[in-house]
Each structure stands twice: as structure tokens, then as C-alpha cells.
Symmetry: C2
Subunit: 114 residues, 2 copies
DNA sequence: CGAGATACCTTGCATGTCTATATATTTAGA
DNA sequence: TCTAAATATATAGACATGCAAGGTATCTCG
């Protein structure tokens, strides 16, 4: 099993990002870690995929990003913290509905053995 | 609801085509009709998407195509009849397994919240 | 200093779907 | 016989997005 990536993932990445950010704000690599963990090792996702996605989502108003600049943390480079906007939350809810429809339709055609 | 198409569909079309061809050989527009019907109106799929997909699948050995040339039918232009190859059947089986994993992983991440 | 870890960023490419249009064949109709 | 409609295949061009591969910057530690 080579995991979920590429064309299969396409069109679902934004919902995944929104979903893990629902647990709370996070910076890029943290989003990556959450996805990796939640995907039980099946999700193969690279930085070169994630960062552009984050920018797109910020640009379209789904996320709001801020440079972490607290004096408490001075170790390592600055991080960019992403959090859901109200619009992002709405799109996440819509994405879940779409996902349900998607699973029913495609699964139905594939003749889901279940 | 604008239906399932574009990036959402990407990476799943081949399995869908294999699946409807499992019922029996069919020509292009017939495949389209079967998908439309099986998709309960949620599948928005155009010829410009299907034909290139059929060619790819023929080229990679998943399908075998023949020009219909039977004397019985002389109405309308010639049709190209596609049928599953053994390789196509194997890939359909594999695609169903992958679909299960896909649904579990993505659905798990999208649904795990609350 | 240099190595390593962390974090962010960018370029260029591959690929599959979509839009739109073109062509060919047959039937029906005036 | 000319035209329109229905059927069926074909393809060019545009585009979005995930990916590979590389780069930059900051901090810690030996």
C-alpha cells in the first residue's frame, strides 16, 4: 500500500487542513504532523504541497495567519500560526456534507462490498 | 448541489469506468449513461473527460476496444466497444480496496472532530 | 565554528479534468 | 434533395494542484 496522495488526494486537501485546524491553531509543520498522525501513516503529504495550500486558503479567506512573535519562545525560526476564520468553519461544514455525498455516490457505483 | 466533478473526481474516474464496464461491454456514450444513471444525477461528467480516459485505459491495457462492425446495426455512426481485460479486472479489485482505505482515512479525519 | 534540528519558501513539472469545438453517420421531414 | 436533429467519436487548449527538489533562515549544542 503506497498510501493516499496525488490525484486521489486532490480536491480533499483543503477539507483535511480545515479539519485538523478545528482542533486549534497551528503552524505549518504542526498541521503536517497532525495530518500524518490522523492519517495513521496512510497520508503521504509533503511541505511543497502543504504550504501552497495554506497560502491559497489564506488568500481565499478560509484561514488567518499571524507570525508568532511571543517573547517566550526564542528557539528556532519564527512560525506562522494559522487559525480558522468563520468562513473557514462554514466551508468545513459544507465540505463534510459534500464528503458524505461523495462517498455515497462513488461508493455506490463501485459496488461497495460493505 | 453542483455535483461531483473536477478535482473531487480526479483519481477516481478510472475505477468508476471499470466498474460500469464490469456489467458488460459498452461504447463511450453508453458508459457515460451508465455513470450518469448510477450517480443519481450527482455525477457531472462530459465527453471531453471520458474519451481521453478511455484512451488512457486502453493504452495501459485495462480495456480492450473494438469497432463495432456488425451488419445488424446500421443506424448512426460506428461505435467503439470497450470491454474489461483481465488486467482491468484486477485493477478494479485493487481500486475497491484502495477506495475502502481512502474512505476510512479521509472520513476518519473529517469526522473525528466535534 | 560546524552540525543538526526546526521552519518556511519557491520553482518547475506532470497529469487529468473541463470547455469548447469539430467531424462523421444515419433518420426524419418539408 | 436539402436541412435539421440525434448519435457518436475526437481533440486542442486552458488550468488547477499536488509533487519533487532545492533553497534560506534561526537557534542549540559540542
Amino acid at each position: 500500500m503506497q498510501g493516499i496522495s496525488g490525484d486521489t488526494l486532490r480536491g480533499h486537501l483543503e477539507s483535511l487542513v480545515l479539519s485538523v485546524l478545528e482542533r486549534g491553531p497551528a503552524h505549518g509543520l504542526e498541521v503536517l504532523r497532525r495530518l500524518e498522525e490522523a492519517g495513521c501513516g496512510s497520508l503521504k503529504l509533503k511541505e511543497g504541497t502543504l504550504y501552497p495550500a495554506l497560502y491559497r486558503m489564506e488568500e481565499s479567506g478560509l484561514l488567518k495567519a499571524e507570525w508568532e512573535d511571543s517573547p517566550e519562545r526564542k528557539r528556532g525560526p519564527r512560525r506562522r500560526i494559522y487559525r480558522l476564520t468563520p468562513k473557514g468553519k462554514r466551508q468545513l461544514a459544507a465540505g463534510r456534507v459534500k464528503w458524505q455525498e461523495f462517498v455515497e455516490v462513488i461508493g455506490g457505483i463501485l459496488g461497495a462490498a460493505t
